[in-house]
């Protein structure tokens, strides 16, 4: 429904509620749907973007953490991804869910980070760690200090050894619960490729985890 009209005389004028000035989104703004928040943020409403970021940051961080394998890099990737999202909101057309679009930004950011990181690691270093440490938890890493579930630690270590694209597809499917089509959209690969990568990741991990059964 669309209505258009010239200004109407109002007597007496309605009382207008005061606008909150605090930088945080209001409780009402936090309850708005993603589409409304995206439209508002695209028009420069910083609080709407803040509400969006607050709503999705934990899931995006989880994805980043599982892709890059350590908290410091995951925090950097999340921060850069959210800033990317703010800068590129104009390009988000709403064809897919905001979460899918944001997952894509985080995934690409993490894969870039991993590529850059790998470029600084020598072939000898890779050869030294790869085969022997497949199932060994990394002792001493802060995020694993309280690791009591050896199987979980082994899976975490094995995940790191997967090719990046396989790990991304596996994490999105098995840990985030997304469907093949959505993962294809996020990773830019075909559904066939996604399905293949997930299957290879599963088999690779199952091979490693067999000793923990």
């Amino acid at each position: 429904m669309r209505t258009r009209g010239a200004r109407e005389d109002v007597c007496p004028p309605p009382r207008v509620p005061a606008v909150p000035r605090e930088p945080e989104p209001t409780p009402a703004e936090r309850e708005l749907d993603d589409t409304t928040l995206v439209v508002r943020a695209r028009e420069g409403d910083v609080r709407a973007f803040s509400a969006l970021a607050q709503r999705h940051q934990a899931a995006l961080y989880r994805l980043a953490l599982r892709l890059v394998g350590n908290a410091a890099d995951a925090e950097d990737a999340l921060q850069e991804s959210l800033l990317d999202a703010w800068r590129r909101l104009d390009r988000f057309r709403g064809d897919s869910a905001f979460t899918t679009w944001a997952y894509r930004i985080v995934t690409n950011r993490c894969l870039d980070l991993l590529r850059r990181r790998r470029a600084t690691v020598s072939v000898e270093q890779v050869a030294e760690v790869a085969p022997e440490r497949l199932a060994a938890p990394e002792a001493g890493a802060p995020e694993h200090a309280a690791e009591v579930d050896a199987g979980l630690a082994a899976l975490r270590a094995a995940l790191r050894t997967l090719p990046d694209e396989q790990r991304a597809c596996f994490v999105l499917r098995e840990l985030e619960g997304l469907g093949y089509a959505e993962i294809a959209e996020i990773t830019g690969a075909s559904e066939t490729a996604v399905r293949g990568r997930i299957h290879r990741a599963r088999r690779g991990l199952a091979e490693v985890m067999r000793s923990w059964r």
Binding site: M1, R2, T3, R4, G5, A6, R7, E8, V10, P13, V16, P17, V19, P23, T35, T36, R40, E43, G44, V46, F49, S50, A53, Q57, A58, Y61, R62, L65, E75, L78, Q79, L82, L83, R87, L111, L114, R118, D149, G151, L155, R156, A158, P163, D164, E165, Q166, L175, A193, R195, R197, I198, H199, R200, R202, R203, G204, L205, A206, E207, M209
Partner: protein, 227 residues
């Protein structure tokens, strides 16, 4: 080779980041079944009669179930980022918005104390807030445009009187038009509620912004139900 259990090359043997046809292909099990389908059926508990009896399928299902338990435990983990991450993002966003504010992003206000300007984003926030306060209504987009010559009333060149001069000296053209999209709760009387939106936007323009609202264009773009 025991089909369904051996990873060619093993995970450590992969070229990191490699993705090609070999990465996409799924070798069928020796019995001909799609290995990925059997895996999905195993974790979903939907194995058919063949898959329950066939040794190849059973081996694949055992791998699937062996991995599934620990994957579930990992999926249940809920790490959260420290507050400093979002704080840093929002500060950078605010800095960017401030640094990139252009003259056309500002509305000139008619102030007896001298020229005053207000960012369109802030003005839109005021009007959206008014609509949000109405029962069964939520504002989505809110575009505010100066009336008439427009640019004469915006930005750093928006001195009072420019609009009148460029409009041929007619009646005071000072003011704005508002185009707003709203979503409404299913079941509200749209005709009456949009009339109320118009009233409230006009009143907010005058009371909160000090800008006469010359027209209000309202589009109801979606309906929602109470959760």
């Amino acid at each position: 080779m025991e089909v369904g259990r051996t990873v060619p090359g093993g995970p450590a043997g992969e070229t990191l980041g490699a993705a090609g046809p070999a990465d996409e292909r799924i070798e069928p099990l020796a019995c001909g079944r799609d290995a990925a389908d059997v895996w999905d059926h195993a974790v979903e508990g939907t194995l058919d009669a063949h898959e329950r009896d066939c040794p190849h399928c059973r081996a694949a299902a055992a791998d699937a179930l062996g991995l599934d338990g620990v994957v579930h435990r990992m999926a249940a983990e809920r790490p959260v980022p420290p507050p400093s991450v979002l704080d840093g993002v929002m500060q950078a966003v605010i800095d960017t918005v401030t640094a990139e504010l252009r003259p056309q992003d500002l509305l000139a206000l008619d102030s007896p104390a001298g020229p005053a300007r207000l960012s369109r984003a802030a003005a839109a926030r005021v009007l959206r807030h008014v609509v949000d306060g109405m029962d069964g209504m939520r504002a989505r987009s809110c575009r505010i445009e100066p009336v008439g010559s427009g640019s004469g009333r915006t930005g750093t060149n928006g001195a009072a009187g420019d609009g009148a001069a460029t409009n041929g000296g007619g009646a005071d053209p000072f003011g704005v038009t508002v185009a707003i999209t709203v979503t409404a709760r299913f079941g509200v009387d749209l005709a009456s509620v949009t009339a109320r939106v118009r009233q409230m936007v006009v009143a907010a323009g005058e009371q909160a912004l000090g800008v006469p609202v010359r027209s209000v264009d309202i589009a109801v773009v979606d309906l929602w139900d109470e959760p």
